[in-house]
Amino acid sequence: MSIEDDVRAIVEQVLANLHTSETIEDLAEEKEEILPAENSQELPDLTELEQGKSLLVPVPYNKAFYEQMKKATPARIGVWRAGPRPLTEVYLRFRADHAAAQDAVLSQIPADFLERFNFLQLQSACRSKDEHLTRPDLGRLLDEESLTRLRKEAVPAADVQIIVSDGLSSTAVVENLPNLLPALEQGLQSMGLKTGTPLFVKYGRVAVMDIIGEELKPKTALILIGERPGLGNAASLSAYLAYNPRRGMLENERTVVSNIHRNGTPAPEAGAYLASLLEKVLKARASGVKLASL
């Protein structure tokens, strides 16, 4: 029997008990204890609680150390057990995190979110989310219509071309962009750097910057793109920077800044850091491995 079956059996049993012979007081008490959500309007969001604060060992031998270990990692350690199995809470949390990761990959960025930023909206050569996931090669190209629009509407030859793409986590873009972009733009502005038309590429991959670079010939390009989510974090954003972005450029010409999220590098700080990094790239006329080895 799988864990899922176990949980279902337990829940069914509890529900059955609720409707049997117990007195009203018992019922109320039990209800409160096992199914707190039934009384409130909304179910608590299991993914809200930080792993580090989920202290489930009932009588830890060394409480201070237990708390410290929990704080040190987002991994599911010290989660206690029910017999040989995980606690219901822990199991459900695992499922919820998995669901959040899937949501991040499969969901779309809301249209009104994109409108807030005045993006020129483009699409890769992928026609669906499914194709986006199964055909990375197409995610690096633009479809014909987008290419035409890019040529017609985007300002070419900027110092910094900003590109945003959903990549593998729409959640990452929605959560981080509103606080990253103003910091980045403020930084670039105070350095006197010219940014082009901000672009959004639906179903994009990192190397879509190569096509855009080929077309617009900016000095540098920066793509902000959702990272493949894990069970620990579904909202992590990466930034890839390249000097002289163009078709056929090598992967090692890109500089990457990853782990931009609430518990990693916070979005505003990342924005300011990226601005200074772009200044460095422009000054060195190099990015990626070449920049790192200067």
């Binding site: 060394n62 201070a64 150390f65 410290q68 509103p178 606080n179 990253l180 103003p182 910091a183 403020q186 930084g187 105070s190 990466s238 990457v256 800044v257 990853s258 782990n259 609430r262 990693g264 590098t265 916070p266 979005a267 505003p268 700080e269 990342a270 924005g271 300011a272 850091y273 601005a275 200074s276």
Partner: protein
């Protein structure tokens, strides 16, 4: 000396400890490494602290009993640099600490500052019984021991003039105190049995015992043992093992220990510790007085008295050199790697810290600006300081708006301060210095020098030294001279 090898940088650090009895120097190399995974924003840490050179142990040069001899002291440092094969230009950082009775000498302050200037570019002058307690506990290995064993460790550094208590939990110092008790408070004729000098604290102990002894008098072992036993008892009283006496109150140089933590595991460091951990048994005054003081006997008394009270004594990694190693290798910490600094303003020394928002940043920018202004005036109004650092403890680091508003509040509140063209230092606990500095630059006059650093924890009343940047301008070395400790550390 700094050498850069790929992602690693080495800085030479000096520690100089001018104590009641002895003066020493150590040179260590600190290795700074980017420990963040390749693709992440860099995170620098000191990963290795290697002691390269230990000086011989000198008697602290004194002129009479109330002045330190600066000429001899400078010669010692010069000679030891020569022996170590280093030049002061090669020293990247470090600290000079003047401790115990030596800190009471009339010229203590001017000497440490002059010496710090001589010793190297970013060598800071420090003093104070609390700081001494912290550095001794780090240098003795107690801080690391408390972290490795997950135990609260009471480190007691018993030197010539003072006993410095540092309580360590998970590597952090959570409480300190200092008693005016040490091995050199009663000075004896070397290998003889005559008293040559009695420091004031020793006179208090004698008064308590009802003994009348004066310099020049001969003394027997039982009287001396009575003195050191009473001294040892005072240490136990401070730990709450025995009830606190009036004498201990008089000998106390700081507030008492809070004792809201378990007192079970004790580590002794300092010169006297060598006699606590050995099986030394005193036989005669002539033999006790081999260093010209009662140090060995005090060690013996401490061992006897502490074991009697079932305290566990753990050996330290360092005894007499604990404080100097603490000053040399453990006084410096590093800022976060995304910071915003006016390089020309550095290094900055002895900057007092003020905390404008002790209970959080108000929502209204106007109100926050008023708090900043009030905090600045609190420190500058009496003319005692012209420069200061603002401590920002809590800010919503994931909100650009919150950070931008904070910058606005600081720019408004510090308008008058910035007119004087003094650098404004801002120290954030959390990772937001780069963006906060960037926001500030859009709101202050172009000439204003802003030094905005993060991942350094300071509170009101601390003093701060900030060195020139390392790692191609990404981080700065910082020395925080904390005077107060919270139980939450």
């Amino acid at each position: 000396m700094r050498t850069i090898r790929g992602f690693e940088e080495t800085v030479l650090s000096v520690g100089i400890d001018i104590g009641t009895t002895t003066t020493q120097l150590v040179i260590s190399s600190l290795t700074i490494v980017n420990i963040a995974p390749g693709a992440c924003v860099p995170r620098m840490e000191i990963t290795e602290k290697k002691i390269l050179y230990k000086s011989q142990i000198y008697f602290t040069p004194l002129k009479e009993h109330n002045l330190i001899d600066p000429v001899t002291l400078l010669k010692i440092v010069e000679k030891e640099y020569q022996n170590a094969g280093v030049k002061s230009e090669e020293i990247g950082t470090g600290a000079v600490i003047i401790t115990g009775e030596a800190a009471k000498k009339e010229n203590a302050r001017s000497i440490t500052e002059a010496l710090a200037g001589f010793a190297g570019d970013f060598v800071v002058a420090t003093a104070g019984p609390n700081l001494e307690s912290v550095l001794a506990g780090k240098g003795s290995g107690s801080a690391a021991f408390s972290k490795a064993k997950h135990m609260v460790i009471v480190n007691i550094d018993v030197g010539g003039g003072t006993s410095n208590f540092g309580i360590f939990k998970e590597g952090n110092c959570i409480d300190t105190a200092c008693l005016n008790i040490g091995g050199h408070l009663v000075e004896l004729e070397k290998n003889g049995d005559r008293i040559t000098y009695l420091a004031e604290p020793a006179r208090l102990v004698l008064r308590e015992l009802g003994l009348t002894l004066n310099p020049g008098d001969r003394v027997d072992l039982s009287s001396l043992t009575a003195i050191t036993d009473l001294m040892a008892g005072s240490l136990l009283e401070l730990l709450g093992v025995k009830s606190f006496s009036k004498l201990s109150q008089e000998l106390l140089m700081t507030p008492r220990l809070r004792l809201d933590y378990p007192v079970e595991n004790v580590v002794f460091s300092g010169g006297v510790a060598d006699f606590i951990y050995s099986d030394y048994v005193p036989v005669s005054v002539a033999e006790v007085s081999r260093y010209g003081d009662v140090g060995p006997l005090l060690g013996y008394s401490l061992r006897q008295n502490f074991l009697k009270h079932a305290l566990k004594l753990h050996p330290p990694a360092e005894t007499i050199r604990a404080t100097v190693i603490g000053a040399g290798a453990h006084s410096v910490s590093l800022s976060g790697s995304t910071i915003s600094i006016a390089e020309s303003a550095l290094p900055l020394r002895n900057i007092p810290v003020v905390s404008p928002f002790p209970v959080g940043i108000p929502l209204e920018v106007k109100e926050a600006a008023e708090l900043v202004q009030a905090a600045i005036e609190r420190l500058t109004s009496d003319g005692s300081t012209e420069q200061l650092a603002l401590a920002i403890l809590e800010v919503k680091t994931d909100s650009f708006q919150a950070i931008n508003e904070l910058a606005e509040a600081i720019a408004r509140g510090a308008r008058g301060y910035l007119l004087k063209e003094k650098p404004l230092v801002i120290v954030c606990k959390k990772d937001c210095a780069k963006v906060l500095g960037q926001c500030l630059h859009t709101k202050v006059p172009q000439k204003a020098q802003i030094v905005c650093i993060d991942q350094v924890e300071v509170t009101e009343g601390d003093f701060l030294d900030i060195g020139k940047p390392l790692f191609a301008g990404t981080i700065v070395p910082v020395v925080v001279k904390t005077l107060v400790f919270s139980g939450l550390a």
